[in-house]
Symmetry: C2
């Protein structure tokens, strides 16, 4: 009875997907789904049936447990193209990973989050915040995420900071201040020591539209030993050169920039 958008059933269905997504890989039983989504059993059953018919949910093995279906994987690999960004950026990521010997990430904005769209490992494999491709972190937490946030237009930046304050607090971090964000814009990159995983540092540079709206960020993850202050400028420069190259290609192609 909270709000009536005229799409309760759809939103409930999507809510079920979200619940199943967060669940462990053994999957969820119908009862659990109903409980988590605050639905009555028959309601949950109907929606689950529809999602299963469509391939958005699938049974685990031959049990009755439910996990995400492969149709989502298919749609995801279409949606993940994000207007060709991943394809355009991949060679750059590979070059950077090879040149630095470290771990490179392509982060793009999706609503209030930054999503890891691609990742290229070289010699050293790093545990980042987002970790894997498809992982997400609230805008403002993590280097790539921070860099994207810093380049959002002021009004939007404020909205996002407010919206993510509690989420980031819950992760025992803080929303970056406007001063910090301004610094990121001025410097053209952001570096931080990972507060979650000791000994890990990250840095990121933005990929911008001609009007300097952020599309994405290239981030590096490495151990402190491998990315000392002396080495940073050279690495950042390489990353910036590749970012410019990607920007140029995106502008050249009649294609399409990601947003929202």
């Amino acid at each position: 009875m909270k709000k009536q958008n005229g799409s309760q059933a759809l939103e409930r269905g999507l809510g079920i997907l979200e619940a199943v997504a967060e669940a462990p890989p053994e999957g969820l039983r119908l009862t659990e789904i109903a409980a988590m989504c605050e639905l009555e059993q028959p309601t949950a059953h109907r929606l689950v049936a529809a999602l299963e018919r469509a391939g958005y949910l699938a049974r685990v093995g031959d049990s009755r447990r439910l996990r995400l279906g492969l149709r989502l994987f298919q749609l995801g690999s279409i949606g993940g193209e994000a207007g060709g960004l991943a394809d355009v950026a991949r060679p750059a990521l590979i070059r950077l990973a090879a040149a630095t010997g470290d771990c490179m990430f392509l982060m793009v904005r999706s609503g209030l989050d930054a999503v890891c769209l691609d990742r290229q490992d070289a010699t050293y494999t790093i545990h980042s915040l987002t970790g894997h491709v498809g992982g997400a972190t609230p805008l403002g937490l993590g280097t790539g995420s921070m860099t994207i946030l810093a380049h959002l237009p002021e009004a939007e930046r404020h909205e996002v900071r407010e919206a993510n304050r509690e989420r980031i607090r819950a992760l025992r971090h803080d929303v970056p201040s406007e001063a910090e964000l301004a610094l990121v814009r001025d410097r053209g990159f952001y570096r931080e020591v990972n507060r979650s995983v000791a000994g890990i540092v990250g840095a990121a540079v933005p990929i911008l539209t001609p009007r300097r709206r952020p599309i994405a960020a290239i981030a590096i993850g490495a151990t402190e030993a491998r990315l000392p202050d002396e080495r940073l400028p050279a690495v950042i420069e390489m990353m910036q050169i590749e970012a410019r190259r990607i920007e140029a290609e995106l502008n050249a192609s009649p294609s399409v920039l990601a947003s929202s």
Copy 2:
């Protein structure tokens, strides 16, 4: 007015996702979506709004056109794990790609389709039916797809053949006969010359449960020159060894087998 499952709104919403998925990367406008899905404009608008709020749809650039959102990419990369199958199989695919120098695919069943869950290229890059990770082909068309179909229980096999007959016809191919499928089961592998792309051959072996239900297939794609009849047995044997290895690992792990 066809059937009333009690989830019209949800199914319509998912239908919109399917429509957008098939659309070119420039995205669809609301009018087009409404037309394709046979919805009234306001209805389409409401559903689209809900999908956009949830990140399942996103605007293209700053236009009003819609494409799939990154939330689908995130969910997809969770759903794509398919109970750990991709992770378990990846080393095997890499080994095979390296050993053969050709292109290896991991295909899994999803409803009436076989979906390409992973792909490892070696020296030679091949244009397969499914092409890319996330691509799908109707069960019965393509080597991996064919192999999975061949190992389905009889009743299910029939259902799928009937269900896919028209789809496969539309692609100017034929549903395999029961005799062909029996042959695949007996031989333990399937080889064919690609009828769509000249000079390309494929072959596939199944990954089965202990009860011999098909989970997935490993497929190879190569040029005729690179995969002549003399070489085939050796390659098939390698693939079968890796398939056995994957089966063993899947049984060992308390984990989870894909299905649906």
